[in-house]
């Protein structure tokens, strides 16, 4: 530790990001949805209705997509994801990519008690595909 800083007792104390702290105290949450056979423009959705008295902060979203048939493995596997909150206009987060994508949301997307947040994955590939979507964060 640089001189002039207080003694942090050899690692017993540390500076946490809020997300790191959430995992440390057990209020982290993740939501995953999977569809193992999707045609062009079919969708898969992970959703969460925030309990009364809680607020959910979405910190991270990711997805992956691949062709089911080995013969299509070298083809593009395009997918899109949309984060939405029922009753809230627009999409706080959008992403797309070939094979998948991952993003840290900073600042986090805030979902209030009683609201439903959805991460929708859309298959934009023209072959039978499987897709996973995940949103994660903390709820306090």
């Amino acid at each position: 530790m640089a001189s002039g800083y207080p003694d942090y007792e050899g690692g017993k104390r540390r500076v946490y990001s809020t997300a790191d702290w959430a995992a440390d105290v057990g209020v982290d949450k993740s939501f995953t949805a999977t569809d193992t056979s999707m045609a062009f423009e079919e969708t898969v959705e992970a959703s969460h209705l925030v309990p009364a008295g809680k607020t959910f902060y979405v910190v991270h979203c990711s997805f992956n997509i691949r062709a089911n048939a080995a013969a299509n493995a070298n083809s593009q596997s395009l997918g899109l994801v949309y984060l939405s909150i029922d009753g809230v206009a627009g999409f706080p987060f959008l992403d797309g990519g070939n094979g998948g994508g991952s993003s840290i949301l900073s600042p986090p997307v805030v979902v209030e008690a009683g609201q439903t947040v959805r991460l929708l994955g859309l298959c934009a590939a023209n072959q039978d595909s499987r897709m996973n979507v995940t949103m994660s964060g903390y709820e306090v």
């Binding site: 982290d28 949450k29 993740s30 939501f31 949805a33 992970a46 959703s47 309990p51």
Partner: protein
Amino acid sequence: MTVRERLARGEFNHMSQALQPDGSLLVTLTKRGDPHVYRLTVLHLYQPDEQVLREETSGGD
């Protein structure tokens, strides 16, 4: 606490959802430090016509 109540109260850390061929949704919940796995099969989750078909708790033995 039923599995549906556990879901409503947020008593979990990880949730997965998988749409089944019959149109129902299989929801799996796990909580860190809890050896159990909680499963719920439901129609129209979070909708006014939601219907719980099946609940199951496993593990922890």
